[in-house]
């Protein structure tokens, strides 16, 4: 067995309203920041998986991304080996 570190990035699907992203964009004026657009706010889950090999570990993370970390109806996720 060996240990693998992953990150799972969860983001609102395209076309889905992202109130947080909107609020951030709306606030940039107050910070005097310009030229920022298309802000999407999502979650990032980092985790360590102990498994026989990378494939086995990835499989576990894929499953967690699908079943636990993301809401497939409104969010998409991507797995990122670290």
């Amino acid at each position: 067995m060996s240990r693998f570190r992953f990150a799972v990035n969860v983001a609102p699907k395209p076309g889905i309203l992202d109130p947080q992203g909107r609020a951030v964009e709306g606030s940039l004026g107050h910070l005097g920041v310009e030229g920022v657009s298309a802000v999407r706010v999502g979650r990032r889950i980092e985790l360590t998986v102990e498994a026989a090999d990378l494939d086995a570990a990835s499989a576990v993370v894929e499953r967690l991304g699908r079943e636990l970390f993301s809401n497939p109806l409104i969010e998409s996720f991507e797995v990122e080996p670290r």
């Binding site: 109130p19 947080q20 609020a23 951030v24 709306g26 606030s27 107050h30 910070l31 706010v41």
Partner: protein, 246 residues
């Protein structure tokens, strides 16, 4: 009459309650719009509860950049009295005007219920009329109220008398940290409210303005608002009060 300003951020939802509570406490309470650069000559300022900017990203962080907050920071810098309630506390923490941060409740759920708190100090502009003895009963209503600061900071706060309120049990004893219903958000050292080092800026999670009328179950919050108004009145004439930390 002493003028006390209540900041209205987009998403504030306790501003009207707070204005009313301050009036019951004898103040001339005026709303301060988040986009204004001055405080309309307020002798004290309250940041009310709610969900400023929806609490999106992180409670209080976006509001911190509102124009009015520059005025509030300057006012606080001169020793002006500032009180943050619930979301207002979160804004003050994000703005660095009070120490620490407010994390999500340990149970990861929003909690609306009555809690009991006791004032650790009775000699501050926020507690002078509170009087010792009975714990104060008032509601909390928040999802991110778990007070956090690093151990070293917490020790300093205790040493310098910057812990203003703590969650306590019905019998007045200090609440535990984990799995104690008396400290429902799991705040470190059961801290419900803190002071800045200078003692003129305070934040607390419970809602004194919702406990300002016995008809609604408790008026234990009124003395807190009265203390503020009275201190502000003195500040009015005698310039700003300085409650040096111990």
């Amino acid at each position: 009459m002493t003028r006390v300003g209540v900041v209205v951020f987009p998403g504030s939802n306790c501003d009207r309650d707070t204005l009313r509570g301050l009036e019951l406490a004898g103040a001339e309470a005026v709303p301060l719009w988040h986009e204004q650069g001055d405080l309309d000559g307020s002798a004290a300022v309250v940041l009310p509860g709610g969900f400023a900017y929806g609490d999106y990203l992180r409670a209080g962080v976006i509001a911190r950049f509102s124009p009015v907050m520059r005025a509030v920071a300057a006012f606080a810098g001169e020793g002006g009295l500032v009180l943050g309630i619930c979301n207002g506390f979160q804004v003050l923490a994000e703005a660095g005007l009070v120490p620490g941060a407010l994390l999500r409740n340990r149970g990861l759920r929003f909690l609306g219920r009555d809690v009991r708190i006791s004032a650790e100090r009775l000699d501050t502009p926020f507690t002078r009329l509170v009087g010792g003895g009975q714990p104060l009963r008032m509601p909390i209503a928040h999802g991110e109220g778990c007070y956090f600061a690093e151990e070293a900071t917490l020790d300093e706060l205790e040493r310098d008398g910057q812990v203003l309120f703590r969650y306590v049990r019905e019998n007045g004893t200090r609440a535990g940290v984990e799995q104690d219903a008396a400290n429902p958000n799991g705040s470190l050292r059961a801290i419900a409210g803190v002071l800045n080092a200078r003692g003129n800026v305070a934040g607390l999670m419970p809602h004194p303005e919702r406990a300002s009328d016995a008809l609604l179950g408790s008026d234990d919050g009124l003395p807190i608002l009265r203390s503020l108004v009275e201190a502000a009145a003195r500040a009015d004439h005698a310039g700003t009060v300085l409650v040096g930390a111990r």
